[in-house]
């Protein structure tokens, strides 16, 4: 399936927090337009891996390349470029509480992309329509439900027109109903051909939307493959146990 040149290349990544080796030689590729779901138990290193791809953590070994930019080395010139091409959505939304929904979205457009206020506002209206929150333009984050906040966070990343979107357990803090509305937005994005890497506990979502499933265990890629194949025939005991426990 990955016919095109991979847009994300992860090679033999090692990440340590003090004496603790959280990532132990992780590697895989993601092709443009692919949706990769990273799954695994707590402490398997999946969120850390995503943070490394986002350039929020520095790695001790191996390499990560996203859209041709070398990530994982702090202060590199590639980092600024990386920011233009990669969007990140967090578990805890991390909206700016002192700014309206619209300003949350336009802040980086005006500061980083140097767009005019009008241009940025038009873009904000466009992405808010995509996540179905046009009427919340002037609201403050605290006035929104968790699901709405997360959709704004997705819209905020989308506005910068990234080539790759990273999602870090974005529905873990939400109840099932709100989870559904956020997942719907993500499915819509996947259909539009966005390259996505998502760390998730939503196995239903992974089965439905992901092209590639990466099962992480003990800081390693324990099992990896096309979604349908992997779920149909788990190769390792750990993965079949994990799948059984998540049902």
């Amino acid at each position: 399936m990955p016919a095109a040149e991979p847009i994300v290349q992860i090679k033999n990544v090692v990440k340590e927090f003090g004496p603790l080796r959280v990532l132990d030689g992780v590697g895989f590729d993601v092709a443009p337009g692919q949706v990769a779901a990273i799954v695994g138990r707590s402490g398997s290193g999946k969120s850390t891996l995503l943070r490394c791809i986002a350039g929020l953590e520095t790695v001790q070994g191996g390499s990560i390349s996203v859209c041709g930019h070398d990530v994982g080395r702090p202060g590199s010139a590639a980092r600024a470029q990386l920011r233009r091409d990669v969007g990140m959505v967090f578990q805890s939304y991390n909206l700016f509480p002192h700014l309206t929904v619209e300003r949350n979205i336009t802040l980086a457009l005006t500061l980083v992309k140097k767009q005019s206020r009008d241009e940025a506002n038009a873009k904000a209206a466009e992405v808010l329509a995509m996540v179905g929150l046009t009427d919340k333009r002037t609201a403050y984050p605290e006035q929104l439900s968790g699901g709405q906040q997360q959709r704004v966070a997705i819209a905020r990343s989308l506005a910068l027109q990234p080539q790759v979107m990273l999602f870090d357990e974005v529905t873990s803090a939400l109840d099932p109903e709100l989870t559904a509305e956020v997942l719907a937005v993500m499915e819509d994005l996947a259909r539009r051909g966005m390259t996505m890497i998502t760390v998730t506990h939503e196995m239903g979502f992974a089965r439905r939307v992901a092209d590639l499933v990466v099962f992480m265990h003990k800081g390693k890629v324990w099992e990896i493959g096309p979604t349908a194949e992997l779920f149909a025939q788990p190769k390792t005991a750990e993965f079949s146990q994990f799948v059984a426990s998540e049902l």
Binding site: R83, F90, F96
Partner: protein, 215 residues
């Protein structure tokens, strides 16, 4: 001995405006230097953090009275004779800067780390992160303790009387020297200080309530 009269009270009120002026100098100067101290204190450069932290500890460990003596008598003997208001203004500025710097450092650090990460991921540089994301949130947290500290500044200006600056406390002494009515005079002096500080205390408390109730 002179009988206490209305002119004495007018004199005290005039002196109170000097207290106000000195407080204002200390607060404005202290805020400017204090912001720099707070930002150095949270800098990514270790040497700058150490510098700011050393400054804070030095000032916080020294009585304001001694700082006043140093800037007035100390500098004076070295040939830099400052007029009392300048010496007092400088002393209080550096004194307030250390305390405000430490208060504001706490407020900056109280802004969640995730706000830095989110703005970093959006491509904001360090300056933009401070200006648009972190400091606006820190200011909200900083208002109540800052107003509370202003009360301390107003009262501490009375120490400037020891270097001959005629503010409210010194004016009280002067009036007392000619009338010898210490009880009445110092009650009036205390009442004027209270009138200056109480609104600030009230404001600090109201702002604190608002900060807790708000987002």
């Amino acid at each position: 001995m002179i009988q206490l009269n209305a002119n004495h009270f007018i004199y005290l009120l005039q002196a109170a405006t000097w207290t106000l002026l000195l407080s204002l100098i200390a607060f404005v100067g202290g805020s400017i230097v204090g912001l720099a101290v707070a930002l150095l204190r949270v800098s990514r450069v270790r040497a700058l953090r150490a510098l700011a932290s050393g400054y804070i500890q030095l000032i916080q460990g020294t009585p304001l009275l001694i700082i006043l003596f140093l800037s007035y008598f100390g500098l004076g003997i070295m040939g830099y004779k400052l007029v009392p208001i300048v010496a007092a203004g400088l002393s209080l500025t550096f004194y307030a800067a250390a305390f405000l710097g430490e208060i504001w450092r706490g407020c900056i650090e109280a802004v969640p780390k995730t706000q830095w990460e989110a703005s970093d991921c959006l491509g904001l540089n360090r300056f933009q992160q401070y200006a648009y994301v972190v400091l606006p949130q820190a200011v909200k947290l900083a208002i109540p303790p800052t107003v509370g500290f202003m009360v301390q500044i107003v009262k501490n200006t009375s120490l400037a009387s020891v270097i001959g600056f005629v503010e409210l406390a010194r004016a009280g002494q002067i009036v007392n020297n000619s009338t010898f009515e210490p009880f009445v005079i110092f009650i009036v002096v205390a009442a004027i200080y209270f009138a200056l500080c109480y609104p600030l205390s009230l404001a600090a408390r109201a702002l604190e309530r608002k900060a807790h109730a708000g987002r």
